[in-house]
Assembly symmetry: C2
Homo-oligomer: 650 residues x 2
Amino acid sequence: MAQEQQLEVVNNGRTERTGWLLNSPDPPGFFHEIFSSIRRTILPHGTKNHSSLPKKSSASKAFSFLQGLFPILEWGRNYRATKFKRDLMAGLTLASLCIPQSIGYANLAKLDPQYGLYTSVVPPFIYAFMGSSREIAIGPVAVVSLLLSSLIQKVVDPAVDPVGYRRLVFTATFFTGAFQAVFGLFRLGFLVDFLSHATVVGFMGGAAIVIGLQQLKGLLGISHFTTKTDVISVLKAVFNSLRHQWYPLNFVLGCSFLIFILITRFIGRRNRKLFWLPAIAPLVSVILSTLFVYLTKADKHGINIVKHFKGGLNPSSVHELQFNSTHVAEAAKIGIICAVIALTEAIAVGRSFASVKGYHLDGNKEMVAMGFMNIIGSLTSCYVATGSFSRTAVNFSAGCETVVSNIVMATTVLVSLLLFTKLLYYTPLAILASIILSALPGLIDINEAYNIWKVDKLDFIVCVGAFLGVLFRSVETGLLVAVVISFVKVIVSSIRPSTEVLGRVPGTSTFSNVIQYPMATKIPGLLIIRINSGSLCFANANSIRERILRLLGDENEENSKDNIRVLVLDISNVMGIDTSAIIALEELHRELVSRGIELAFASPKWQVMSKLKLAKFVDKVGRGRFFLNVEDAVDVFFDPNMSASAVHNC
Amino acid sequence: MAQEQQLEVVNNGRTERTGWLLNSPDPPGFFHEIFSSIRRTILPHGTKNHSSLPKKSSASKAFSFLQGLFPILEWGRNYRATKFKRDLMAGLTLASLCIPQSIGYANLAKLDPQYGLYTSVVPPFIYAFMGSSREIAIGPVAVVSLLLSSLIQKVVDPAVDPVGYRRLVFTATFFTGAFQAVFGLFRLGFLVDFLSHATVVGFMGGAAIVIGLQQLKGLLGISHFTTKTDVISVLKAVFNSLRHQWYPLNFVLGCSFLIFILITRFIGRRNRKLFWLPAIAPLVSVILSTLFVYLTKADKHGINIVKHFKGGLNPSSVHELQFNSTHVAEAAKIGIICAVIALTEAIAVGRSFASVKGYHLDGNKEMVAMGFMNIIGSLTSCYVATGSFSRTAVNFSAGCETVVSNIVMATTVLVSLLLFTKLLYYTPLAILASIILSALPGLIDINEAYNIWKVDKLDFIVCVGAFLGVLFRSVETGLLVAVVISFVKVIVSSIRPSTEVLGRVPGTSTFSNVIQYPMATKIPGLLIIRINSGSLCFANANSIRERILRLLGDENEENSKDNIRVLVLDISNVMGIDTSAIIALEELHRELVSRGIELAFASPKWQVMSKLKLAKFVDKVGRGRFFLNVEDAVDVFFDPNMSASAVHNC
């Protein structure tokens, strides 16, 4: 009697739970979801609780707004001389690496050398006021320089029309900044996420090889070179030149200093205290090689030198921006590609060092800072600047405390621009090539590529796609290939029809895959199948229906004594369902009815339940056939007598 | 003491379960998955259990193989005269509808009328031997005729080069059949699923309107018409003609018979016994109007008539197929589009009537049958045939028993071709137009469009996209738009970052969304978040990480007394994870460690667990932080003392 009462209580609880499931409030509607998603994207978070905070005066509100925009106002008040001492040292080390690299990257971007230095002056200053990373080193970087030159020389040839080329570079830089600022202001940071980790690893590796091949021009002293960036064109151009004319002296000079730089790096790695040695090695190389050329007059013997080098403060380039030319659409297109690539590199760099020091970097704020620094850069003769991985690492090792090290660096570069540019007239191009070459190995991450292969084969295909695309076609093809493969991967993995047969895990009310957990036991007379596709839709619903019927057939064949009476479908993983899928479920239901098998659903998600109700599917199947969890469904349909006979049969 | 022992048992059970989770066998590897998926696709299912069945002799094996290919061998043995009587009646009714429709559709396909009749002879015969549907009526259909003419007249203009046009039609028909057979043989039936229910509804509606507009040519007796199919071009052409020359008599004649056909249909709907009335109405209209024109010599007064009409048996068209012309690639492209559209219509028709009669239709077998019937059709002067919705419905209402009704129909059409074609010389084109017009309302399903809107707003966008694309651009644009939107929808719904806070549902060990189930209670000190994205990947992992941190902040703000000590992530819904997502989880873990919050994972899926192990993430977080279900995690981390204080505070 007491047992019966208890049974009734249990049954009542179950009925009540099915009621909760069926009568749960409506999920947010389609339009509400869209609006709230837009609001959540555009407006900063945490707004809903602001009213509960004590009201601030409008002055302090304005100040906190300014603090948000210019983080320097916050940390600047606690800035002490001890910190400055460390920042000064870091900034000077940074400058000694930055000057030769900037000249080299300007060369890679097919601009005169001073534009690289300009780009190391204004953007770091702006970033110091607006940015929130403490370690990042701002300036021109290899990949963006390559990207810019490879994209822009398709529109304007720098050899034919250098002024038009430069104007397009500044216009593209302006668009880069504008897009970055817009991404940040409208909180569209997720766009940067579209370049997955695997894409970045593959892309960087490919770009490093392409950049290295471009350096063969300087290293071999070749005058006629190709404007294409793919391996085959470049190697062809190199072999053609080698047959006609090249100057081995350039190669000897470049290689000797490359070896010197690599040796200092090896020493720096062995002895952490000598970290400054690899950092100043490029500058030392530049000085030594320039002196060598000047003293031996080697430029008369085929050594190519920098020559024209205009010093002085960044000139204004406001009048060079062209918004009504025919190329403005091209500039905007190039701008958006550069914006995404530059942000990807900067945010990856910033985040990894921030997490080492244990603080959080707000991606959207960073984007606004980068955007403004590039907009202002484009008005002051700078091309696209971003966070450099190699220099940020040097800045970090040199013990920087705040972004003041960037200010020190920019000031040093500015002083050099004002005073020392004449001295760089005799700097050999081969040295610039070897400085760039020495920075490349850091971009190729074979270990990480191996890890990707180990963990996710499809991700590895994305990585290889980006790598080969950059190598054999062009920079933007590589990116496109990787992004397309990434999204195809998302589609395939979402619509892949996947089902698993569940059994009860001993000692729990959890039902799990019987192959993964061999100790899980099936319930006699019941077949419990979980649909493992996030979206049950037109593309997979029919396959899943057929697979379920097949599993049912297999089960009945294997276990011919205990025929399956009930099919419990665990749809907990189905997050979305469309009208095609509902039709497939209706067909499944009819099919099962014609075979005399009952159909029950367990753990439907909120949105799915709501759609099934709207489509009247719940009424067709029967409201009592929907359960909050698998256990409730099993309790209702499991017949202990049958189980006893089953056990007996075993 | 007993309690302590019990606690120990419970703890041991949990530890054991975590062990099961961590040490579960490796899931099938990437390559194994690929191969088994290909095998499963290409080979028929159920092969694994064949060995357990009693061995068959090779003769009986061959016979069962033939039975699989030609289902007629199976049901033919039980075929009785009573069945034939019903099939004969159904076949004759079908023929009376089929003859005028075939002539009209040939007109729509811009072929001479006899080709429509040819297409109603050979394909139904072939299908009768190979197909397994009992109700489907095979022959030319409106949508495929439109599709074929609109695609082919872009390559060859039928007004300029009718022979070249016809050759391309046959070649495209051959490719259609070849693709259909390949889809069936390699079990690629899922390709047809790529046209979702919403796409088909929108596409059919748009195509019906386009077909209707094409009929204005015949109905108004216009001689100069556009070859484009979009609404705007057609309406422009019609208005231009109306200003210059048209013959109102055509319109009057066409409309009178259209009204006649519609009235018979209305009567047929009211009284089910008179179903034959609407079925023979078109033939009656043709006979009456032909007589009318012949007697009144109305063709001299501007009534356009069929005129040239070659009778006789289907001639061979083997020599008309062109595989080495310049248009062969076009023909193959058109073939694949027609193959998918024709199969979509046929399988939708076949399935819905099969499920009414309670038998299952094997999609792959149907595709093979359709493929062969079109290949053989292309050799015997037929264009693409498929299952017609309107005629299948008539066949069903006429009480057909088997596919023999198709044989009866084909024979009747053949007899007409041999004897009566001369009589159709005076048939007015306006009547053919009104017969096609009368069949169109069945293609426009406003109710279903409304249902789609109600259930799934995004599906409705797909439907509208297909509709407007067909209407305002072209047939293939409509399909392309719908398929692209469908897949974008899959991407968006899979990567949409979605999380929910869970609480324990009273009386169960289930944890559910606290907003959907207001009765679910949160656990003090614990925050349980479920990730509701099927794939945790590059595109959403960072957003989800930020969302989790925000939820954590909100929770701590709301409930400042009980600070969250543990974050339990329920990743049961995450079916796939990539390297970018693992990096995001590592960042989340570091972030939480720096705030002093513990991180635990509940119910990871097999594949996900395996990847987390491979990426060494399990070791970083700690092997004891992974649980088989949420309940185990809560049991470990929940501190009852704290709960008591929390209850006290409430």
